[in-house]
Symmetry: C2
Subunit: 287 residues, 2 copies
């Protein structure tokens, strides 16, 4: 990497939603010697972790404050990462400059949650900043094809994985969740806006109630990008808490689509998976 180039483009601006991935990206970028500045979204970003980095707090509709910060910090490149809850319109703090942007930002609110950050991103791009996908800024967060764990998927697991990916392809056009749970060819759950962790908690609860009583350690969580999903703004993610969720749900493993999903705290995730005899595999997506 050319240090001059790093110098001239300034720090990478990370618009930082919820979850640990923004920090994985920030750490990866810093470990290559490039500075980062977080623009942490109020109500979404993890305040305890944000304070370890140079940062500004912004409201989700507050494009004006974001611009001012980007200019002040000399950022040219900006990446958007992390989860953001769709705000109710009345909770958006309206500044004069935000008000100018508001109609364009709000037009993103009728679609999926992933549209929120992407809409903000497109507005920013219109103002001459360069929007970088998180996995371009930090390629090490992407999961390559293959098995990550000691346990490998059996042929029965592979049949569940194939069924899960087929299902996710079928629901893809409807902008619904990116994940499903399949056990012995039976689809137990499809992710909606509740997210993967809540979906796994649901299976755990149904198991407690005796409504799921397949053998523990059987069944898969499949997770993939939606067809047509703008990967600059939304990547399927797994991490150590996904493993914890799988254990409670009594499932056997995770399959993600290779080169499309990202992993938060990979070493810790693999350690947890191996300890729980859970497999994690990345499968090349069929077209």
């Amino acid at each position: 990497m050319n240090p001059d180039l790093v110098e001239t483009r300034g720090p990478l601006a990370i618009v930082c939603g919820g979850g640990v991935l923004p920090f994985a990206v920030a750490d990866a970028v810093r470990s290559r010697g490039q500075e980062v500045v977080l623009f942490a979204i109020k109500g979404a970003a993890d305040a305890a972790r944000v304070k370890s980095y140079p940062h500004h707090w912004i409201g989700i509709g507050d494009a004006g404050k974001l611009y001012a910060g980007l200019r002040k910090e000399g950022c040219r490149d900006i990446t958007f990462i992390g989860s953001v809850t769709r705000p109710s319109i009345k909770h958006i703090r309206v500044s004069l400059r935000t008000l100018l942007m508001l109609p364009r930002i709000l037009s993103g609110f009728r679609g999926g949650d992933d549209h929120l950050l992407s809409k903000l991103g497109r507005v920013v791009a219109n103002y001459g900043f360069h929007v970088v996908a998180p996995h371009e800024a930090a390629p090490e967060i992407l999961i390559g094809e293959g098995d990550l764990t000691v346990r490998k998927p059996s042929s029965s697991d592979q049949a569940d994985i194939a069924r899960g990916f087929d299902l996710l392809r079928a629901v893809g056009p409807y902008d619904v969740g990116q994940a499903a749970v399949v056990v012995n060819q039976h689809v137990l759950a499809v992710e909606g806006i509740e997210g993967t962790d809540a979906m796994l908690a649901r299976i755990a609860e149904l198991r407690r109630q005796g409504r799921v009583n397949t053998a523990v350690g059987v069944g898969v969580l499949v997770k993939t990008a939606k067809p047509g999903q703008d990967r600059r703004f939304d990547l399927p993610a797994i991490g150590p808490q996904t493993i914890a969720g799988l254990e409670l749900a009594g499932l056997g493993g995770i399959a993600v689509s290779a080169g499309e999903a990202v992993i938060a705290e990979p070493a810790e995730m693999v350690r947890a998976a191996d300890a729980a005899h859970i497999f994690v595999t990345a499968v090349k997506a069929r077209q």
Copy 2:
């Protein structure tokens, strides 16, 4: 109706799972002067209501006891209705006769929950009994095309309804749930094995958490039969508790596919819906 025919075929046997629908069928059949005998499934049927009818309790795998009861009561026609939780294999009470049936019944356990009753039904049919669909025994439980409530779906509601039915058609081949929640064209939830009531409770919870904050009274629950679903054994159902779930979830209405869904306690359901300004409509399924 020819009373002689009723006489010669004996009482209608109702294999009775959970929920109120078995009793709606029983009441409709009795109101026409035909006797019923419930074969109530242990752990599923509502014991308090079962005792108002002539009945026998049976275990889910206990085909032997079912046969003996059918013969003793002189039943020729048998209908299967109500929800049944997939039992863990170790909890099936094994009698000598059940043991003979077990391999055929158990082969239904890898598919959806709806396969359980249908598998039992097919075994019964092989033994010369006549399996009658619940909506053949009691046609009044089926919902015909049209609006049932004072509130009618708006054009925006209709767009949500169309999107929901499209989604359910897409997931149909995967034997996943029969329902989804769509708000402003955004799919919030797809039903898995948790069932419709639990799916609505999830939306209510996400609303409490501020993760769903669309206007109250906007958005639809769509519910339909799965493509290829054997309607002798599984019909999508709504009732007063569906309305209660919708109110907590803050949704505007329900759309079911006309002539495919059944309604438990219709008068009470419509009264509750009107009181809550919720619409219920039955839409002709597009092919």
